[in-house]
Symmetry: C2
Subunit: 362 residues, 2 copies
């Protein structure tokens, strides 16, 4: 029930997703009265989805603390299905803060992970680039940045199919003395980890779209601003381009001649192609779709979730995390390495039980 | 002597600047043996400039602490001329860290200013936007952000010619509860200042190029990453555009037809048009040119410096700062309001004595 045009674009998006993933089963959580007529229009979605009815939905501007109290909200029920092992993952176009809070509290972070991170794909001259964190953590310490790098490595291997992705730490300069203590310490720790050989060092804002590294690691504040600035700038240039091509008859003719190539350009920077930010470090797959996306964009977010489930993303993250040296400064004793096997078993059973089922919380 | 192709592009840039500012006189600080042959080629620059000879120059990768010890370096001598009142401002394409450190220690910050900020202009759908800080301060507190907003207001009035520029505080969401304490506190303080009516509230990364506000205020880390991401993304889209227009004969023909309009587009996002970041909050005008710019870009940086001198930018900043409420949490007692008059007199005499003279430290 979340997003600007829910549940229409979600059901339409599920029709596209059902065609792309014929063996997957989806749980569609929301108000049946609103869903039934839409499912009649989209037979493919109707065949692939089972509706879990609830009349409650979390509003886009509800505070996370208030969202946590809505136990019958569609987003909550979708997340509960993942925590209970009845779904392998959840995709939502709803309230981001609520999704993060619910995911963290109900699905819970993996042992050894301080905080989940939000990751997404951005365009570059050299192909797709993984960026994280994108806003799950406004302030991060050294250990968080190291964990993000380890999770970003697995994400790039899983979603981009790279064998040894290069990793950069976002900073205000590429020299070793730049940035604050926290970032310089993260660089030092990273050089000593199993992904040390892939660690490129510091990168700057322009390195994201230059594709200097396959993964760009940063805190949630900077990452959120950088990704939104990137999207805004692409939009600005495309808008100027549209103005240029409608400014004169001659320019309009020029557009018609170059149209095929220009459409391909637009596709490269099309935000729908990058829709689907992933919450990493949880005991389940959680994908956040843009609230303002369309059916194609929502279907892409489902693709991202399917990739992570099919490629056993979380198991690979657990392996990666097991290889980071012990935490330098442990504030509290949350970490319980003995829990790893139990968690693994739980996730394994969720995967085995339900195949590629994803819960689509709309 | 600083920048990728110094001193060639500086002398060439001064020829362009001399033509644009016929009443200005410039001090050109550097190695006379290298400057003399270049000045022969650029008669206009030769007529407008007086050479201050020094063989020493600060390398691009020298640490600021080491740069501070080079008392005969061209950048140092240029900055000394401003501190001594023999020039109204300085323009440099050299080492940014060295320029910031020297400016802060030799020219000094205004009374009441904790730290100088770096500001520049970025493109948006609705016209030019002022962004600050862009890297002078990696970490900022509430008071710094408020000071940046006050300085950004004056900068937008002076350089963009706006009467009541709108001001946004960069955050990860536009809702009041977003971001960290520091940013939320800065928003609260700003509402109470004389620029309160112009304060729009929080803006996000995409708001920069959307032109949601005329001024975007942020800490130096985020601002640096955001501006470089913006530049990188514009570059990516223009590169894709070039590829599109050379992909087929038909597309090439299309380009030829739309060329005039496309050139105008390129101009809007041309980084040279935005060259010239300004260090605000000092007792003199300090402009940092990109090290990789060309003569046109360097001349633009001189334009920015001239604008600030002619429009008595620093006096207006002092007025604005005098109107902020007393500092909420004062760490140390640097502020000495009694010094304002003396500083004003000093700067006034620099202006009166030398007219529009700028020292170009290359």
């Amino acid at each position: 029930m979340g997003g600007d045009r829910a549940p229409e674009i979600v059901v339409h998006g599920m029709a596209i997703a059902a065609e792309r993933h014929p063996s997957a089963r989806f749980l569609l959580v929301g108000d049946e009265a609103k869903l039934a007529p839409l499912l009649k229009q989209h037979k493919r979605a109707a065949n692939a989805c089972t509706v879990l009815h609830t009349p409650d939905a979390i509003a886009g501007d509800l505070k996370p603390t208030a969202a946590l109290r809505m136990r019958r909200a569609s987003m909550r029920i979708a997340i509960d299905t993942v925590a209970a092992g009845n779904a392998a993952g959840v995709v939502s176009a709803g309230n981001t803060g609520a999704l993060m809070a619910l995911a963290k509290i109900v699905i819970k972070t993996m042992p050894g992970i301080d905080r989940p991170a939000m990751a997404a794909i951005a365009p570059s001259v050299r192909g797709d680039v993984v960026m994280l964190d994108l806003g799950a953590n406004v302030a991060c310490d050294t250990r968080n940045l190291v964990e993000f790098a380890v999770m970003g490595d697995v994400f790039a291997r899983t979603v981009l199919g790279l064998t040894a992705p290069s990793i950069g730490l976002l900073n205000v300069g590429s020299e070793e003395l730049k940035g604050d203590d926290r970032i310089r310490a993260a660089a030092e720790v990273l050089r000593e980890t199993h992904i040390g050989p892939q660690f490129h060092g510091f990168v700057e804002g322009h390195d994201i779209t230059a594709g200097t590294t396959d993964v760009v690691v940063t805190d949630g504040f900077t990452g959120n601003v950088a990704l939104k600035t990137l999207e805004g700038t692409a939009k600005l240039v495309l808008q100027l381009l549209r103005q240029a091509f409608t400014a004169s008859t001659q320019a309009k003719l020029g557009y018609l001649l170059a149209r095929g190539e220009l459409d391909r350009l637009r596709e490269v920077v099309d935000p729908r192609r990058y829709n689907g930010a992933v919450l990493l470090g949880l005991n389940g797959v959680v994908v956040k779709s843009h609230g303002g996306t369309d059916a194609q964009g929502f279907a892409h977010a489902v693709d991202v979730g399917m990739d992570m489930v099919v490629h056993r993303f979380n198991e690979r993250i657990r392996e990666g995390l097991g290889r980071i040296p012990a935490q330098p400064k442990r504030q509290n004793g949350q970490s319980a390495p003995g829990g790893v096997a139990g968690m693994g078993a739980k996730n394994g059973s969720a995967g085995g039980d339900d195949g590629e089922r994803l819960a689509a919380a709309r």
